[in-house]
Symmetry: C2
Subunit: 470 residues, 2 copies
Amino acid sequence: MSILSSTPASQDYRPVDKAVMKRLATIFPQDRISNSEVDLFTYAYDATKKQYPPQVVVWPETAEEISALFSIANEYRIPVYPRGAGTGMTGGALALRGGILVSMERMDSIIEIDEKNRLVTVQPGVVLATLKTELQKKGLFYPPDPSSAKTATIGGTLAECAGGLNCVKYGTTKDWVQSIKAVLPTGEVIRAGTKARKNVVGYNLLQLIVGSEGTLAIITEATLRLIPYPPHRSTFVAQFDSVRNSANAVQSMLQSGVTPCALEFIDRISLEAAHSHVEDKTLPVCDALLLVEVDGFDLDEVKRDSHVLSKICADNGANEITLANSEEERQACWDIRRSLSPAMYAKAPYKTNEDICVPSSQFPTLLEKAYEIADRNHVLTLCFGHAGDGNIHVNFMSHKEKDPDVEKAVDELFQAVVALEGSISGEHGIGITKAPYLAYEMNEKERSLLVDIKKVFDPAGILNPDKIVV
Amino acid sequence: MSILSSTPASQDYRPVDKAVMKRLATIFPQDRISNSEVDLFTYAYDATKKQYPPQVVVWPETAEEISALFSIANEYRIPVYPRGAGTGMTGGALALRGGILVSMERMDSIIEIDEKNRLVTVQPGVVLATLKTELQKKGLFYPPDPSSAKTATIGGTLAECAGGLNCVKYGTTKDWVQSIKAVLPTGEVIRAGTKARKNVVGYNLLQLIVGSEGTLAIITEATLRLIPYPPHRSTFVAQFDSVRNSANAVQSMLQSGVTPCALEFIDRISLEAAHSHVEDKTLPVCDALLLVEVDGFDLDEVKRDSHVLSKICADNGANEITLANSEEERQACWDIRRSLSPAMYAKAPYKTNEDICVPSSQFPTLLEKAYEIADRNHVLTLCFGHAGDGNIHVNFMSHKEKDPDVEKAVDELFQAVVALEGSISGEHGIGITKAPYLAYEMNEKERSLLVDIKKVFDPAGILNPDKIVV
């Protein structure tokens, strides 16, 4: 774990001194503002394992408080960092320059479940899994499902446009946002989108803010779209003795007309890591494993769809196909899938996880390239992820925190991805860790548009600076 | 039809004079540039029936030509108007200030049908129906389906984010765009999005440009997402003797777990207009008619789903339900539905069509309000549209081109829509006809964001000026 300086040399931003603290205390009561060492370090980290302690943490309860905070931040030019649960993978929530960390965790109300319109209105601090549980009680379903769902907040998933396991059928977070209320860094409160399903009024500010990694506005309320909860699911595991065969099976499944709600690939070495990490051996070790799930409203239909897909796997050379026979067996499969990310550390203490995404037909080529790049640079790699989307987590493992071989492998991987008409991030965003590679995917003018749009929203550059474009 | 002056009083823009024509002739050969009276009037109109003749029409064949055109337009400050087929309903393609009209119709190649990734790459001048036909030959389906599909071009549907009949299941154009190539008014060529299904790299420039009504960039290439073509469909007509009952049926269908691919409402007076307009009596006259279609990959499943929905209609008081027994009968239903817009003129020569959208639960309340507003202002109204989306076409008919009663009704309707948490445009955009009402839905800061984003893309204000925000 690296604890870096919280205040890089900069004449531009003013530190949070006593005068600023006094002003902030006019907005936030004593129990919702802190600069204690413990709090500063608690809010210094995210899933990158990098640490940048802020100079003060505040816990707003209203949009108005955030607006007042921005007024002070603009006056003194102090950087402001919004934060959900800190589960981001690219540093979006890190307080790079110290400043004010705005924890959204107290704005955690589910404001309204509108069953008639299948919409839910929430504050950003609601934990995703909590929301899903509450909705399921009413027979409703909000599909986005990143592996961090048990801790990630809605605000964080909106800021990062989180993906997850079921995007192959349901898309990502951006596909489920109906409208937001947000505070701009200039202090104004705006709404983007309405409760109406279709809306072509003005530019799409909604989709501009969603996925902007907390750099354009702080979302204080969101209305999300829901569907009826599909009560039936069928899950199976298909073992292959070649990555190419598993990739062919993925292609055939995608063209069958039956859309699985999850279509995950795991390679041999990832499976071995999982076996070292957890006692459970539900997922067998093989060269390539596909974990496939179908959901729906009619049990017979789900069974038939599952059969169609498992037959495709068999036709493409799967040498064993195992159906989960109970909810427990099914959960065991997904628990192991979700544990893969931490399990990687069984192989080496440092992990660089790149969530690159390619057109699904390029999935086998990408895997070949990833293994080849890792071999050439003498780096251990473990690959798993969302085969149905072409969104693969390529993990480069190392015994060193800063490893030039890993850096070279990452660089070569990104170049390969762009050459395959893919994207350097499918779901984790750019933040700070991928910012140096942005130019691989976006040309100079495209990047300058990002900078200029940022200036429209945040002329003083106080909201989450140094992220995405550097 | 109103033929308005092509050059409103403005010191800002320079007219297209001989010097400019000479420069344009360096880019466009003689057969791809014209200022003949016939061409200027041919390209002066759109579906608003307003006419603004440009001063010159050009037909580019490459992005490079458009880039060179912008260079001249910036140098002389001449307005540039991109145009597809001119089927837009709010004036997006009208050459308000004369200037240069850029017809995209010669860029009409289907560049690549990528069956493996279910993507198609097209130039913007491809006609939507042509694309759909070509795709269907390969068993592929591009869902967006505005009623203008037979003439509308892909570029126009992207610029306007076209909706149509099957949005209740498949969403709108924006949900099917994977990536675009576009020329900025400053001349640079950019790409937004990649061929990878998931992409969270930088701000969402793709969704910012799609639906921006040709005011931010000219799209020169688009990669669209496809699904396998669902070969089976079942269509039925349900007659109700009360609008409220039909609305209840819509609600119940939406909550059933079975998603129809079309769920259309037509009121009595619209049905009467259709009967006067076409000989065909396939759609019977009743107080409220629902036209419902289910599609899918399995015939039994489609039949079962259709039965579930028709039973819901019966349970909600439908007094007659008629299943289309052949493809001919089915097509007849949809032909009449698509002919409703022109059929309205059987009632009066002038029509103001507002495509307002409300949360689906507010659909009956909206209808009540629309009839009440029309009555109060002594205006005849005909309502039909996408009940499943809450997106209703409220048509105010008049015998006068400019009718203060209609204007008052429109104003009251928009206020009612916003009060119901809806949107003043579900699929037609703002253009010029709804620009005066933008403030009903967007606050001052939201509108100023639109203006400032426009300036980022188009600092000289040469691309399609005076649209959306005035």
